[in-house]
Amino acid sequence: MAQALLNGLVSGFLIALPAIALSLTYGILNFANFSIGAMITAGAYLAYFANATLGAPILVAAPLAAIGLGLIAVGVEHGVYRRIRNADHITLLVASMGVAFVLENAIRFAYGADVRALDVAVARPLAWHGLRLNHEQLVIALAALSAMAIVAVVLTRTRLGRAMRAIADDADLAEVRGIARARTVDWTWALSGALAALAGVLIALDGIVEPLIGTNYLVSVFAAAVIGGIGNPFGAVAGALIIGLVEEVSALAVSTTYRQGVSFIVLILVLLLRPQGLFGVARIRR
């Protein structure tokens, strides 16, 4: 049980990164970015390209993947979303599905559907009072926590963060107060891309690289963001921890094949009992 809780915590940290990314873009652009799964995959492949193809160490490859996917996300914003900014959010959601198909198939085109692995050394797990913590799990926990801390500082302590929260609160008023909306949206996508890429690298570290690794996390990520009260990045972290823990603990009782089903059940329960999400009350909408 303690082992399941530990695994769940690590898994929650991992889900938190794309869940934050999803919440950030939802808050500012008011649409659910369905391509978040494909973005995670793209991040893993960018790291694979730098690490296995070019031979860069993973500590170099991971930041390169984050920067690369950040740039791609800004490119997609300019090429796709900005052109349909005034369409309703269903149109934007469908557009993001299209982006997901393009990203995934571009990856298949370049690397095929083969299962690959990053070029990293395998280390012994750490053991402590009968609990086992993989080296990868430790890296995931530390990297995800650092990324969350950076996002929290950016959101609450920097001018960019205030601009992002102001636009999420009221986009027209933000413009009236002198905030350059287009530039802030670009930065939001860059940050969102970097978080998704980091998640992709961490997932790949713990397992394999294949064209569906991100999409496999799609339900968990959406569940985490919605449970946290979508649009609220801090709630998304709490939602991710809940989903991570529930998925791992449920694996003690039911087969891990049903892991996503369990996320779905939690999501449905939360939506039935608290449609605004567990942490949705903090947002004042009157």
Partner: protein, 263 residues
Amino acid sequence: MSEAPAALELVDVAAGYGAADILASVTLRAAAGRITTIAGPNGAGKSTLIKTLAGLLRPRRGRILVGGRDVTALSPAERARAGLGYVPQERNVFRNLTIGENLRIGHEFIHRRASRREFALARARVLDLFPDLAPRLNGLAGALSGGQRQMLAMGCALISGPSVLLLDEPSAGLSPRYVATMLDAVAQVNRSGVSVLMIEQNLVEAMRVSHDAILLVGGEIRGRWNAAAFLADPEVRTLFLGGTQRVAAPAQPERQRDGASAA
């Protein structure tokens, strides 16, 4: 019209939503250093006019000048940086941010290179004007009462030191005590050199502090008065006071607001 130089000028502006023009052809000047109030019955296009001035609505035709500079092509953010402060009627503060953050946002995107000291001075000036806000800087803006929220909204527009202030019904929804406080604050801001253009339904209170009054009916300017003469004009009285002889303020400002909105 006015001999004083214009703080704000509209030349033949047409604007609206969808197919129809709400403003047909509006030409007006708000004199520098004065308070100009735009009055008009509901549906006259007052809100459309102020949104067009703030840049939230693009005019179909015409030009908008701030201090003689053509700002027609500028975005709301660029107009704010050109010295145009705007207080919307509703949704005028960031509700999920603290009061301190709201004030900071009002300053930092217009004076991008300002030092901490400059911001502190600007904030102290605003808190002098609205001392109610000072003890609540860490509270959420959405938790404020209507009157306090209106003060914060005005503080956020003032903190950057605009040359022209646009106010969309600063007294709307306020309790009688706050209506006078709010309009006194407008007068005080004006005395410090800021030109004010406001929309107001509460005409008796508004004329107490205004210098000029402009009447907007059906998307067109019907005339311009000295504030002192405005409420005595027969046309204005027919429009707002139902043609009765009643000119003095009724005892209850709320009732009087209702009277003003009945066209």
